[in-house]
Subunit: 187 residues, 2 copies
Amino acid sequence: MAKDTYHHGNLRAALLNAALNALKDEPPAKLSLRQLAGCLGVSANAPYAHFASKDDLLDALRREGFVELKSEMADALAVAGSGRSVELAALGRAYLRFGREKPHLYALMFAEGPVPSEATASAATDSFALLRQTVEGLGTDPDLAHFAWALVHGLVTLDAAGQLEPLGAAPIEDLAPRLAQILIGTR
Amino acid sequence: MAKDTYHHGNLRAALLNAALNALKDEPPAKLSLRQLAGCLGVSANAPYAHFASKDDLLDALRREGFVELKSEMADALAVAGSGRSVELAALGRAYLRFGREKPHLYALMFAEGPVPSEATASAATDSFALLRQTVEGLGTDPDLAHFAWALVHGLVTLDAAGQLEPLGAAPIEDLAPRLAQILIGTR
DNA sequence: ACCTGAACACCGTTCAAGT
DNA sequence: ACCTGAACACCGTTCAAGT
């Protein structure tokens, strides 16, 4: 049954899974295609039957990351109370938690090296759209959604770089209500 | 003189200079110690006479980056008019311009891989201190300086990732006055 | 269609040795 | 003190070949 048909069924999914797993422990720069293949008991270039290059595999990982991020934001929005402030805080909290819990995947998603595929770029746009809709009409500045994005993105990456330690031991997603406060401008 | 004493005088400075130069064209991930040495006409492991490892050289580059960032922020503050809002905008403008003009050096400065040396960590703290002092007492939130930092940091890295293109063709440092507006809360 | 084996051109790093 | 040459254990990727 589909198990060990050739070597172990579905190498493509196994590679993505193994890579995602490796990203729990190490930054994307440490990911090695040969090592991934070795862990799955397959030859060094077997991956090339499923991915055009290492960058192609990384692009698929990135896409998965954006899809997951959007899904978690949508879930948070669904259970949040109504009112712009609490919606915004819920969205920010989901975003910050995703970034804190998966710092290496998050870093890969925003890495600057290779140009993302069209599919990955649109997954990124889709996840940002959720934030843009919630922020829409909140302030007078039409770019407020971008500033909101920069704020959470900056917090996630500064936290990953260890520059937010002076803020104390609380997880960064607890900052979400204060971010909403700043963006809305009520003080 | 002091030229070509052994091979060409000061290999350490030449390596840092060549690396800084390479960062103008390519991301830090592409930096190769062997290639740097080759460009300077020196053997592949000559760098190890001056740096303990590749990470050690990268750490020195990072430190230089933070020192330069602080210096440019200090210069901007010196020529700025008085008043919290214009000071903050001047500081933000200097930060954003640095990040936009040297995206690869900036990315290296905040890379997550190796733990920064104590000297580099304190250079980072020093550059942040400038921002903290300017923001101090501006709002009721004691963490406002961190939010300000996250905001500019987020804008620089989103811009480097190509996610800020919808904002138009203007360089991101033009956003500085609006950032100050948001942080101060006058609208 | 999916995988192996051998090879190529790279890496960072170490070690012995030269001046 | 500063550098070279040869070597080791890795990389990503390609090519011919196997089933």
